[in-house]
């Protein structure tokens, strides 16, 4: 991992922008907390996405000006948001019917680990002193049509987050479709991780060195 500092990957914003390019016009999208929230800043020209927040709003808009927030208009991260024209409010059973019933097109989530089989761990370290908290992550991965993960390729200490099998408690099994990291865009396929695109200036070998499972090269 000594070359870590030499490899200059995408920034968080560039990762979010790259992911946004892959969302079709008119998609209903749920963005998780953290880097996934950045995706909303990069809607490509000519497209419109409708954002779902599982606490009960379709048509979520950007954060209001500082001081203009309404404590009863918040997102799943409990931050103040706005409602776009055409928005709808609903209760939790309806909200999770949208999720579990396969009505949402895309869920974008962060990750602690993703396995080569598409297993995701993103809710708990499993440490005995941790306060377990799961929220809606398990419902999202069980029900939404496509699951994209957006994450740094490695942890702060340089450990690979893309692994053969997750050591942290799972959020769901075999549910991740695609990963957007700072180094590459990678599909989860029946054969394992397959590189779709490398960050400019990053070569395949350096991504493989930072990945805990075999990588397949991009299909020509």
């Amino acid at each position: 991992m000594s070359q870590q500092a030499d490899t200059k990957g995408w920034t968080r914003e560039e990762m979010a922008q790259r992911l946004a390019q892959d969302i079709p016009n008119g998609s209903y999208v749920n963005l998780g907390i953290g880097i996934p929230e950045l995706v909303a800043r990069f809607v490509p020209q000519g497209r419109m996405f409708i954002y779902h927040t599982e606490n009960g709003l379709l048509g979520m808009g950007p954060s209001p000006e500082e001081g203009d927030g309404d404590p009863e208009l918040i997102n799943a991260g409990k931050r103040h948001v706005t409602a776009n024209p055409g928005a709808a409010y609903f209760h939790h059973a309806d909200s999770f019917a949208m999720i579990r019933g396969g009505h949402l097109d895309l869920s974008v989530l962060g990750a602690m680990q993703v396995s080569q089989h598409g297993d995701l761990a993103n809710w708990s370290t499993g440490k005995p002193d941790a306060i377990p908290a799961v929220g809606g992550a398990m419902d999202l991965v069980a029900g939404v049509k496509q699951v994209f993960v957006i994450t740094q390729h490695c942890t702060k200490s340089g450990e690979p987050k893309l692994v053969e099998s997750c050591s942290y408690p799972l959020t769901g099994r075999g549910i991740v479709n695609r990963i957007y990291s700072d180094l590459a865009v990678i599909d989860v396929t029946p054969e394992g991780f397959r590189v779709v695109e490398l960050c400019p200036g990053v070569d395949f070998q350096s991504v493989q060195e930072r990945t805990g499972a075999p990588l397949l090269p991009a299909e020509q």
Binding site: E72, I74, K78, H92, D119, S124, M138
Partner: protein, 236 residues
């Protein structure tokens, strides 16, 4: 003549006994019925089971009820929130038990409980620690877990407008768990900013029909958790 109004928060919660199970609406501070919770603290009932998405923030509202050691068990999806220190301490000490439920499963268990459905199958949590030990069954080649409907003795929720028959409208994302919780308890108590006569609310727009509601309390200027915390308040 039907009039479900009560005159005070104290009257609204007066009969809640020790050992009761209570659903409390709210997602974070949005929809948290703080005045009813504070009245419950004053009332003194203990050994409560609380069903709520979170465990409160600071030392007001739900967090204050926990801090007063009135809650022996919480059933929730996300017992961690910014400024949430009360629950972690009680949990580590072993005073308050936690049943962690995925958010959508929690919602559906409450919906089912209110709808007279004793159990259902869900794909959520299959293959995870929260699915371990649960009865499972395959439908069309996919595995699902059996989950049980959830009911309670009481529900405490916050609305924007209610009429004296108990029909309720909510404010934005403060709606969250309230309509399903209203249906799932023996006694549902609503605090609303405005209480009106029958006929004022357009029947086409009613969110919670009055049949699910037993008591209506007007709280004209409800407090917000974040504002109380910013002001450094602790309850009681």
């Amino acid at each position: 003549m039907i009039d479900k109004r009560v005159v005070s928060a104290a009257e609204a919660v007066a009969d809640i006994a020790d050992g009761s199970s209570i659903m409390i609406g709210g997602f974070g501070e949005a929809g948290s019925p703080i005045e009813l919770i504070h009245a419950l603290i004053d009332q003194g009932a203990s050994d409560l089971t609380v069903i709520s998405n979170n465990t409160g923030s600071g030392q007001v509202g739900l967090a204050a009820l926990l801090k007063e050691r009135r809650v022996s068990k919480v059933i929730c999806s996300f017992p961690k929130t910014l400024n949430s220190t009360v629950f972690p301490e009680l949990y580590r000490e072993g005073f308050t038990e936690l049943e962690l439920v995925p958010q959508g499963t929690l919602a559906e268990r409450i919906r089912a409980g209110g709808a007279g459905v004793p159990a259902f199958y869900t794909p959520t949590a299959v293959g995870t620690p929260l699915g371990e030990g649960k009865e499972s069954r395959e439908f069309d080649g996919r595995e699902y877990l059996l989950e049980y409907g959830l009911t309670a003795d009481y529900t405490l929720i916050k609305g924007l407008v209610a009429d004296i028959h108990g029909n309720v409208l909510y404010n934005k994302t403060a709606r969250n768990f309230a309509p399903i919780m209203a249906s799932a308890a023996d006694v549902t108590i609503v605090q609303a900013t405005t209480v009106v006569e029958p006929g004022v609310i357009d029947p086409e727009t009613v969110v919670t029909p009055g049949i699910f509601v037993d008591r209506v309390l007007e709280v004209a200027e409800p407090a917000h958790e974040s504002e109380l915390i910013a002001a450094g308040e602790c309850y009681p």
